[in-house]
Subunit: 337 residues, 2 copies
Amino acid sequence: MIKTISLAHGSGGLASTELIDQIFMRAFDNSFLQAHEDQAKIKLTELTQLGDRMAFSTDSYVIDPIFFPGGDIGKLAVCGTVNDLAVGGAIPLYLSCGFILEEGLPICTLQEIADSMAKTAKEAGITIVTGDTKVVPNGAVDKIFINTAGIGAIPTQINWGMAHIKEGDKIIVSGTLGDHGATILNIREKLGLIGALSSDCAPLYSLIHHLHTIDGVRAIRDATRGGVNAVLHEFMQGSGYGMKIIESELPLQSTVRGLCELLGLDPLNFANEGKVVIVVSPECELQVLQSLHRHPLGINAKSIGEVVTKRNVTLQGLYGIERLLDLPHNEPLPRIC
Amino acid sequence: MIKTISLAHGSGGLASTELIDQIFMRAFDNSFLQAHEDQAKIKLTELTQLGDRMAFSTDSYVIDPIFFPGGDIGKLAVCGTVNDLAVGGAIPLYLSCGFILEEGLPICTLQEIADSMAKTAKEAGITIVTGDTKVVPNGAVDKIFINTAGIGAIPTQINWGMAHIKEGDKIIVSGTLGDHGATILNIREKLGLIGALSSDCAPLYSLIHHLHTIDGVRAIRDATRGGVNAVLHEFMQGSGYGMKIIESELPLQSTVRGLCELLGLDPLNFANEGKVVIVVSPECELQVLQSLHRHPLGINAKSIGEVVTKRNVTLQGLYGIERLLDLPHNEPLPRIC
């Protein structure tokens, strides 16, 4: 018989304590959790020795399916928040996680997800210091949702942000586009592209931290929901400048390109979970690209365009014709992350 | 026609941006959110000038119903995390919030919840600095779940924690017990006690901070899920001592007492959302009680027992007979918070 999550596991009674001990304490074990208090207590010197500011970010993860080629909801929940800290220039340090579980979820499934989170957190150098578990009756949530909130320290010399973007700056992507979105689309819509697609879900701090010492990095964003297109629109809003990219420069896996052509979809709108868009000064473009290429997660990094005066987002097509890239009203795929 | 949440509102496209601007930016407006970055950036001096440690805590809120006498899921989501920071001795400062919305949720409902969060955050002196919104298809979540994570600064002189509890210490509760649990039970089970019950949901920092200057406060916990009984068991686990309380000393509203007698339930197991259990040295007991009594949220504070050698949790009944208070396997009511 498969053991499953029951309402008792979320009630604050004995069953809750047992679940926390058996699953979460075992997977995430550290001195913060061992204190068994309602809050983690962190010495501020742990942060002040690394920087002068703290980054704080949160995301909830509701992806369907919860396991997919290249990852699972647990890995995603760690990577997503680690990356939101890293793109702000922060060194990711501490993570909270809140689980909402559906009554009836197999305990071995939760175990697998927790183990995946622990593995990813270790890889990313972040510690899961506090958490919460709720269980809701069957039907009130679909299997498992996870929220993570993260804290990082921003080194004093780093000051990245959209407000620093200038005309003439270069736009770089750290690798092939749309892999995560295409992978989920392929599974969910049963398109049958077996084995060919895998999510790019990865913690990116180890890639990004090499950029800390390069002068001229203006702003970085991870291109998740809404894809590179959404990021370019945010950069436009946040800087007051336009973003012009070149179609022939976009790094795309052939399977993703094929899937998009087949369905008439634009990979620029597809979610990524291990790619960033970086705006840099023209002077440091080469140095940034070289730094990215030296890292396994950045080998396909490319310059894809530049910042222009005219305040819109455009794509120069294969025959040189420039067209407006509108921000779609919505993305075709719900629960992508 | 009532406007409702659609999948597009969570897609990262134009509809997402509009929802964030219209609901959340309007309600929570501050310079952190105005930066429109993926992470809030906070100067560490904002924390170091207040203390030497940071408290970090998270909770997800899945309560059903989302509006109840004395509060709503938004108020609860702010109070719960504020209180988890405050009981650790922290000054609550920054809050993240992650919304998971069901397709079809009326936008006016979300507006009301966001306004309630904004009002409560203002009252509690905490700033909502970063957030996330996901929308899932109808049926994948019940209306709305909220996660909050909070950051506070712990003043240097404060060192509260279960490890400091000693034999002979006094156990104090800050007010009447079980009001939140009884209120939700009354509504959910349609018990018909109209107008008589109201949740005690409240941010408690303004009450707790008066204890910062009292020497002899050992540990504080808010008695939420699992009630005072669960807290006493945690204190036992965390200190290695037993907890003995006196039934005749328990502050109870007559309606809650009546409801418990009617149903054969123990108010010690009922959830509270605005009450704390405090362990203090015998020397400062009176001073702590006086401090609590001066605050509107502490007027019914009482000493209810003491810390003993024998490592269990007991209740001395009305006729002087002592019985063991076991930690129940579960609480009768799911989705209480």
